[in-house]
Symmetry: C2
Subunit: 102 residues, 2 copies
DNA sequence: TAGAATGTTAGCCAAATGGCTAATGATCCG
DNA sequence: CGGATCATTAGCCATTTGGCTAACATTCTA
């Protein structure tokens, strides 16, 4: 459990759902109406997001209320920032390495 | 061309290569020696990273010098930050929605 | 020049991914 | 009750992904 969040972000529809949920919680229908694929397909995408821990689900009657879970998103963002930060800390070394290693 | 960077980050080996390159440019061997898979497999992973624009390659004799290309990484990081930022801007609305919608 | 080193291509294969339809479950409402 | 609504499961299929071995191309070096 708590599957790879990067893998979950790999599909455009799933990123679209995240974008929708970032503007506020929503039901499945509200969160997915923008995408032109079948309901079962969307259901699968939601499952992937849920298993990655990126969204939470509360069942309320016949509706499922989805909400963004920021923590895994934060971790993913942090990972990216770290890599970028390290890289940008050694810009001197880079060009010389690429052009002509001593 | 300039394929989906998130998709490229979806595999742990590819993220590992990014981590290695964030510490400085490296040859293929240097960048991949930590991973216990065959050379052709690694070669494929590098191709994915390159097509996503996440790394650059300069061929120098028999060695290929790899370097991180920060720009797509920055864009991915920015996307995540934006979603998180929006979400965190409406924490009041969230709980009421989840618990009891008016 | 022969062999070692670096890396890629070609081709194969099993498993995962992403789509679909049909059917099901559960709930709301007239 | 009975139909409409919201959403999922089950099962199918084509494509993609990620791994492998074998073979090749290039370059360095003893």
């Amino acid at each position: 459990m708590a599957n790879d969040p990067f893998k979950a972000l790999a599909h455009p529809i799933r990123r679209g759902v995240i974008e929708r949920l970032a503007q506020g919680p929503a039901t499945v229908r509200e969160a997915t109406s923008a995408f032109d694929v079948s309901k079962p397909t969307l259901s699968k995408h939601l499952r992937v997001l849920e298993e990655a821990g990126l969204i939470t689900r509360v069942i309320d009657g016949r509706e499922h209320r989805l909400a963004l879970a920021v923590e895994p998103l934060r971790e993913a963002g942090t990972w990216i920032d770290e890599q970028r930060g390290r890289w940008e800390g050694l810009f001197d070394a880079v060009e010389s390495y690429l052009e002509n290693r001593a």
